[in-house]
């Protein structure tokens, strides 16, 4: 009997099979296994978040030994009436939106290209993954060098444009700086999306294409009626993931522009960092952090709801 129950407990994940009532003692093991993880993540992730929410209602003095004082909604009142905060929100939306569009478009196009059979394809795919595999700090180093106003290789291209006679100050002009932040972040991110889309493309049954071709469908029709529906749910998921990843982007922007010129590339994560570690205004920085937390939690919930829906569809 007891062996029977054990076997039952081990057969998960459930695939539409109803669980037989289990002995209470059976749950001891999973809880014991999971408890250290919950405590660990609780201490290092959840507790700091709670502390941060609490801290955003106080005035924190780290330098002096003065006690933290309760200030109520002061930090939030300051935040919402601060034009700089709304500028940060606009910059964040612009950056995140542009990276989603650019990275996913390039990811989709390269996936469609690399889905076609050709020689050296495994090699070409390895190349495609290169930007994703390189750590962010060397990426920053490469692009600082490529964008150098004196010797940067990108100036060769810029000089080919009509009317450009001097090497541009790539990271000093607001529009150019934002453009490069989007391009570099997308360059780093798109291989991941491309790989995911490739996997979805390969899951589309080839017979669909063959029978549609027999019926005389052209390429565009094939794409709109077979390919696009086939990868639609994957693309949806990737939009949300791309939103999360680009919202988190810190290192590239921080090391290349620090948020400048004059705040035009300062997304909320950069702003939080600068407020805390440049201006030592920890309380206001935690309030900004709570604002960022609310946004990312909302996006994460969208992702989770899509996951649950997918799980239900496939069950």
């Amino acid at each position: 009997m007891s062996e029977h129950v054990e076997a039952d407990a081990l057969t998960g994940p459930p695939r539409g099979v109803k669980a037989r009532p289990l002995l209470r003692r059976r749950y001891l093991l999973p809880f014991a296994l999971v408890l250290p993880i919950v405590i660990y993540e609780g201490l290092l992730i959840v507790y700091p978040i709670v502390q941060g929410i609490f801290g955003s209602f106080t005035r924190i003095e780290l330098a002096s030994s003065a006690a933290t004082t309760w200030v109520g909604w002061d930090n939030y009142e300051r935040m919402f009436s601060d034009p700089a905060f709304w500028k940060v929100i606009r910059v964040t939306l612009l950056f995140t939106g542009l990276v989603i569009v650019v990275a996913l478009t390039v990811g989709l196009l390269t996936a469609l290209l690399f889905n076609r059979p050709f020689r050296f394809r495994p090699f070409a795919r390895g190349m495609l993954m290169m930007p994703w595999a390189i750590p962010e700090v060397p990426v920053v180093m490469i692009f600082i060098w490529i964008l150098s106003p004196q010797f940067g290789v990108v100036n060769i291209l810029a000089r080919m444009l009509p009317g450009v006679t001097k090497n541009p100050q790539w990271l000093q002009v607001p529009e150019l700086a934002m453009g490069w932040m989007v391009l570099i972040s997308s360059w780093k991110a798109f291989p991941f999306y491309s790989l995911v889309i490739l996997a979805a493309l390969q899951a589309i049954p080839q017979e669909l294409y063959e029978s549609a071709r027999v019926d005389g469908a052209n390429r565009l029709q094939l794409f709109w009626n077979i390919t696009f529906p086939g990868i639609g749910s994957t693309l949806e998921l990737l939009v949300v993931l791309a939103a999360i990843f680009s919202f988190k982007q810190f290192t590239i922007i921080f090391l290349m522009t620090g948020g400048g010129p004059s705040g035009t590339t300062e997304t909320i994560v950069i702003r939080i960092f600068n407020t805390a570690f440049r201006f030592y205004d920890y309380s206001y920085a935690t309030a900004l952090g709570v604002a960022g937390f609310v946004v990312s939690l909302a996006v994460a919930l969208v992702f989770i709801m899509m996951q649950v829906r997918r799980a239900e569809d496939s069950a």
């Binding site: 809880f31 390269t110 070409a124 700090v137 060397p138 997918r310």
Partner: protein
């Protein structure tokens, strides 16, 4: 009769020509796209392996003019890069060990055991993985300051492991899901406990997944910049990600050394990520997509 055969031959040649043109176009597109994608990496190599007199002119030559290898020795003698790499290695190794131990437990509970709260646990992991690291930085910094845990390599490894653990658990869960339940049933019928089954059946069958978790955890900590910069402000513990960001190209560090530093730092993560990409993708998408 002859004319008819001639017609057929012309038609065949036409089809051949069209196919050839399409193939050529495909290869050309692939070549151009690959070139654009890989160019920044190519430029890093070019700038590393030739003396800067070629690269410090405008316009710079697009092909290497001369090979040069002394920059690596100069880099290691003029900058504490060996120490930086050693610190990175220590942080990464500790993060890796911690993650491997904990993710085996979590993934086994999530994949092979059935218990109430299992889905909730999965969601909990998913959410912690999606929050921007900087949001937790300030409270954690204040906490670490109070506890006197700043400037310590193990303390940083604790944080790195907390951030990457959820992804590691999702990766391993996907791998454990592939262990046939019948095998587990059989072992339990043979008198094995659940933990025994984990140790004797699940783990040996999941070697590639464990390797993937090791790679992901190791290089997450190796690459990590934000927390390393704040928590290890003293030069003694500075890891390479932070150290490299302090180098100033041209002004202080010759370009070939600067790019050589980037290259030295990237070689290992690039190699291992490319080998393990399939697992990493499934972990990052919480199993929604198997790459």
């Amino acid at each position: 009769m002859v004319a008819k055969r001639e017609d057929a031959r012309v038609a065949a040649a036409k089809i051949d020509a069209r196919r050839l043109f399409n193939t050529a176009l495909l290869y050309l597109t692939v070549a151009v796209v690959s070139l654009i994608i890989v160019f920044p990496v190519y430029w890093m190599m070019i700038s590393t392996f030739q003396p800067s007199k070629y690269i410090l002119r405008f316009p710079p030559p697009l092909l290497p003019q001369e090979l040069y290898f002394a920059q690596f020795a100069e880099l290691f003698s003029e900058h504490p890069i060996a120490k930086w790499l050693r610190n990175s290695f220590l942080i990464a190794a500790m993060t890796m060990l911690l993650c491997m131990a904990l993710s085996v437990l979590g993934a086994f509970a999530l994949s092979n055991l059935r218990w109430p709260g299992r889905n909730l646990f999965g969601l909990f992991l998913l959410v912690t993985q999606m929050l921007p690291e900087v949001l937790i930085l300030i409270p954690l910094y204040i906490l670490y300051r109070r506890l006197n845990m700043l400037n310590s390599i193990p303390s940083l490894a604790l944080i790195d492991a907390a951030f990457i653990l959820p992804i590691c658990i999702w990766i391993l869960k996907g791998v454990f899901d592939n262990v046939p339940p019948e095998v587990l049933d059989a072992s339990v019928v043979d008198g094995c406990t659940e933990l025994g089954a984990l140790w004797r059946i699940v783990l040996p069958l999941s070697a590639p997944g464990l390797a993937a978790v090791a790679v992901v955890a190791f290089f997450f900590a190796w690459n990590e910049y934000l927390y390393a910069g704040i928590m290890l402000s003293s030069g003694e513990f500075m890891p390479a990600s932070v150290g490299l960001s302090t180098l100033k190209a041209i002004a202080q560090t010759p370009v070939e050394q600067y790019m050589a530093a980037g290259l030295v730092f990237s070689v290992l993560p690039v190699l291992f990520y490319l080998v393990m990409q399939k697992y990493i993708v499934s972990g990052l998408t919480a199993g929604a997509v198997k790459g």
